[in-house]
Structure formats: structure tokens, C-alpha cells
């Protein structure tokens, strides 16, 4: 395995040899505040629950039910949109949110009176949703549960004025299925990410960007910077949100596609995506304040410092693992000094 830095450093040109996917120079630093006052929604304190879940089996519904109940998630009569991570398929890999977790969540939401549960995703690389759904096993879940699936890549899009200015785009076209949701539940896989460090609840929402407008991969946003795009997308969404991170088996190393499985045995629940991701990063053995977009989101969107996060389940430090990181992200490791 060769780390990204090995490539870049080996030609002695770290400053000018970013990748094509991450190749853009960061947009010029905008003058003035980087978010509008209405985007400043960070609560004084947030709550997260890390719940043990040993396997993808029939007991998952109980765990999800408990996770939802811990937060009194308002679902009765609501149109709920589940946004899993379904980016690619590798028969030997663990790229995607497990379909049995999606099935368990659908069941738990319906038990609690959800009006409609829709599964929605805009895969970033592949256009062939039929293939991804059937290969990943999600098609079977959709068939068994009768839940609707929406390909966000081709959904009707509406303009949304951005409430933060990290990308400088000013506006994004976002899918109506997401914008019209009464409750959006981000359901990422717990993974390392070879450009962003980690991909969790916030990064997962990259998938709502309609590729028919922005391309496969969502290239326009890559040019504006992945961290910047994560911040602008998340700050733009005003509907109630919840997050369930699939950390039963995560991915370490060269995620989000080519990493390796890391059994971790947890699900992470919470309404504040920054706090959920900060907690998940801690479980992965990382310092969330060193993940660029999480640290920036912690300025206005949610709580990244764990001192401001009430843990309603297991203590994340107790479940902490050491996810393997690519060389450029070694500095994210919790406990390292900045020189380490």
C-alpha cells in the first residue's frame, strides 16, 4: 500500500500536485463571515449514543429502536428519508451501509408511526442503480419492506441558496426528495476517506448532490474542495435531521472504496451530525478536532468537542479502536502531538 503522500512527496511537489479528484486549489478565502447568522445552529450541548451491535442480524431492529427512543426522534406521520452510503459495490468489500441495518431502521420507524419511509441515494461513481441495488442486497430489502427508493442523481432538483460560503458557489441544486423530507436520516458507513480523512454522517450527504447536474463523480464540488463542499451542503439543509452510523463493520485504510474491513461492533446515533461524527471519529481512534471539516463545522453547526457532548450509550473512549490511516492522515490520530 502506498500512501498519497508517498506519491506527492516523491516528486517533491506537495504544493502543486494535488490529485485530479482533489486537484483544485482551495477557493479564495472569502472576505467576511463564512456562514450566515441563520446557519449558526450549534447547541450548547449535544447528545450522542454509541450502542453495541455485534452483527448484522435480527437483533438490529431492537438496537435501532432503542437508539431512536433515546432521542425521542419525532417520526409519527412524518415523511422520513433514509440516506445510506451506496457508492460502489465490491463483493469482498464493506463499502456500503449494510442493507440489514437499513431494513431494521425501516422497521423501527414504521413501528413508531412514520408516515412514509423512502430510501434515497445518488451513487457517486456508477449510473447503474439497478446493479448497485441488486448487488449490494438493498434491492431485496426494498422488495421485502415495500419501501420506495429514489435515485437522487436524477431526481427533480431545486435551487437552494447556501447559508455558508466555503465553496463560493452561492447556490446548489438539490433533490426535491431530500428538500421535502420531514426528517432526513444520514446513514453512513464508518470509514476512513483518502481525501477527507473520514467519511461519516456529514460526508455521506455528498451523495444527495444530483449527478445528472454535477456529474459522476460530483466533480464540480470536488473542484471547490471536498471539505468546503461538506460544510456547505450540511449547512444548507434546514429540515430536521438524524444520523445513524453503521460501525458494526467499518472500513480502514484506503477508504472509502478500497479499504479493508474493520469490525467495530457499534452503531452511533444522534441528531447533531457534528457531534455524531466527532464521537464516531473518537471510536475510530482519531482526534475529531484534527479533521478539517469537523473542526470547521464545530465553529457554527454542531459540537465537535466531546466535553460538550453527552454520551447516552457506551463511552466512545472505552470502545476506541485504532483504524489504520493512510500516511497523509496520520496526524489525525488521537493522542499524537502535532509534531507526531
Amino acid at each position: 500500500m502506498i500512501g498519497r503522500r508517498a506519491f506527492v512527496k516523491s516528486i517533491g511537489a506537495a504544493a502543486v500536485a494535488p490529485t485530479l479528484v482533489r486537484c483544485a486549489e482551495p477557493p479564495e478565502e472569502p472576505r467576511g463571515p463564512r456562514w450566515l447568522p441563520e446557519a449558526e445552529i450549534r447547541p450548547d450541548r449535544s447528545s450522542v449514543a454509541v450502542l453495541a451491535a455485534g452483527a448484522y442480524d435480527g437483533r438490529l431492529t431492537d438496537v435501532v429502536r432503542r437508539g431512536l427512543e433515546l432521542f425521542s426522534v419525532p417520526v409519527r406521520g412524518r415523511r422520513v428519508v433514509l440516506k445510506p452510503n451506496l457508492v460502489e459495490f465490491d463483493p469482498g468489500g464493506v463499502i456500503n451501509t449494510h442493507p440489514l441495518l437499513i431494513a431494521a431502521t425501516i422497521e423501527a420507524l414504521r413501528e413508531q408511526g412514520a408516515g412514509e419511509v423512502t430510501v434515497a441515494e445518488g451513487p457517486g461513481h456508477r449510473r447503474d442503480n439497478d446493479y448497485l441495488l441488486s448487488a449490494s442486497g438493498l434491492a431485496e430489502v426494498l422488495r421485502d419492506t415495500g419501501a420506495r427508493y429514489v435515485d437522487l442523481n436524477v431526481d427533480a432538483a431545486r435551487p437552494v441558496e447556501l447559508r455558508s460560503h466555503y465553496t463560493g458557489l452561492g447556490r446548489l441544486y438539490l433533490p426535491a426528495t431530500v428538500l421535502d423530507a420531514d426528517l432526513l436520516i444520514s446513514m453512513p458507513k464508518m470509514k476512513t476517506h483518502h481525501w477527507a480523512g473520514v467519511t461519516l454522517s456529514m460526508k455521506n450527504l455528498f451523495g444527495i448532490i444530483p449527478s445528472a447536474i454535477y456529474g459522476w463523480p460530483k466533480n464540480v464540488l470536488h473542484w471547490q474542495g471536498i471539505d468546503n463542499s461538506i460544510l456547505d451542503i450540511n449547512a444548507a439543509l434546514t429540515m430536521p435531521r438524524f444520523n445513524i452510523v453503521d460501525g458494526i463493520v467499518g472500513m480502514e485504510g484506503n477508504g472509502p472504496i478500497q479499504g479493508t474491513a474493520r469490525p467495530t461492533g457499534v452503531l452511533v446515533f444522534g441528531a447533531d451530525p457534528v457531534a455524531v461524527d466527532a464521537t464516531s471519529a473518537t471510536v475510530m481512534g482519531l482526534d475529531p478536532t484534527r479533521v478539517t471539516y469537523l473542526a470547521q463545522a464545530g465553529d457554527f453547526m454542531g459540537n465537535v468537542e466531546l466535553e460538550r457532548v453527552e454520551q447516552r450509550g457506551e463511552a466512545p473512549e472505552r470502545l476506541r479502536q485504532e483504524y489504520r490511516l493512510l500516511e497523509p492522515f496520520r496526524e489525525l490520530r488521537a493522542g499524537l502531538t502535532s509534531a507526531g
Binding site: F7, V16, T19, L20, H125, S134, I213, G215, V220
Partner: protein
Amino acid sequence: MNEALLAELRDRRNPDGGWPAWEDLPSNAECTALARMAFAAAGPEGAAEAAAATGWLLRHQATDGSWSYQPDVPLGTWPTSLAALALGPQAEHGEAVRAAVRHIVEQEARKLPWLTNVLYRFARERMSVELNPSLNGWPWTEGAFSWVEPTAYAVIALKRYGRLAGRGATGRLEEGERMILDRTCAGGGWNHGNYRVLGEDLEPYPDTTAIALLALQGAGRLPEVEGGLRVLDRLLDAHASGGTLALARLAQRAWSVADTGARRRLETLSMAPDDFGETRGIALAILALAADGNPFLLGNVS
């Protein structure tokens, strides 16, 4: 002509005369262009729908000659190539297609800073994403990088109608072909456009491989073409979606490769047209199963 698929495609038409990706969605330029191709290939029995699609496309062409995927969103202009292919330069919409072809020739993908290009030139195998960024293909939308699928559509459109734009078309389509060849995956075939990242090979996709093979018609039996055809055959075992099978069959026909089962699988799927999937796939399947009248098959055009 597959009557069941034609009927299903007819049912999916929106009141505005265009076609959506799925029922209950607004019409978009890609599906409407593909629907026009499919109904035009059906001859007189598809004439009314082809005319409706033509009307929709002409009403939604932007003043710069482009079509964006969703008419009220000024991004995602990649369907311009498909719309030009669908309309063709018949007298009644010749100017629309000329404007589209001019737009295709003039549209450039985003380029990297010159120094980065130099680094790629001299240390390509050590870059984190290993490809030749100096080759200018086509983006999905203005301001983005070149990717395989939009480049392939543009190359096909220019091979058919590039003469309408004058000399500039030939150079662009040749560079587009080189860009597609550059993005070939290690074991053959194509994915969205990154074949090697951080030292690891990425896998090809059958649908993108088929589209790239269609674009390379007339380029000769290059090793990349042979490899792509082999990969396509292998990948189809695991892919059952109608759209992908249709693209594969089109590519096989373009390269005079015997049917290895795609046609039969398409015909089986067409027995339950409700379940066929995206509108795009239905239109492509009609084209793949049609005897002739197919704008994707270039024949003697080069």
C-alpha cells in the same frame, strides 16, 4: 421493433411532450433525446412521439446551443450531444443542431495548472491519480474536468455531425478519442474516468465500457477496443439491468461482435416492461433491439 417496450416508453411521456427518468419526475433532455431516437427508429408507428420529443427539445434548447439535463437548471449540459444525435440535421431543425455542434466543439473541460501538467508528464506513475490531464475531453457540466461518458457522447456526435461545425471538430474529436484511450483501466474497459488512484487499479464498469466502445467506432481494432470488448462480455455476467445490457448490445453491434446473450436477456426483461427500470434503459433497449435507424451505430461515418 419491441412493441412492449415501445408501449411502456409511450406511457412514460409527460404532458409537456418530454420524457422523465422515472414516472412523476419532470422531463429531462437525456431521456427525451433517447426517446426521440427510439421512436424515430420505430418508423411511422413512432412518428407522433418522435415529433413530441422534437418539439420538447427545440423548446428547451438554450441560446448558446446547449441543452441542460433539467431545463430550468443551467448546469449539466452533457445531454447536448445526445440531443444533437437525436434530432439530426434535417432541414426543419438544422440550425438547432448546427448550434449544438458548435457548442460541443467550443466547450472545453477544466484544465489543471500548467505546472501540474508538467508533473503529470514526467512523473505520471507517481501521481496520486494517474492519467494524462492535458488531454481535453468533455465535462458533465461547465467548469468541470473531462470524464469518459460525456466525452464519448461528444465524440459520437462529432463523428456524425462535426462537419456542421467546420474544421475545429476533427481536432476535438481526435483528442477526445485519445482522452478515452488514456483512461482505459488496467485490465481493459472503462469506468467513470479514474483507472488508478493511490497506486491501486480501479475496476471498469460495463455501461461506461460500452459507451466508450461506441465512441471509438472507426478507430480500428486497437488493443483498448479488444480489451474493452472482452471485459464487457465478462462484466455482463454480473449485470442484469436493462440499460446496461442495451448499451452492451449496442457496442457489440457496433464492433460486429456476436451476441453473447445480451439480446436474449433484454427480450426476457421486456416481457415485464413495468419493471424494466429507468426510462433511459427502455429507450436504449429499443435501440439495441431495433434493426436499423440507430444514431449510435456510425456505420461508414468516420
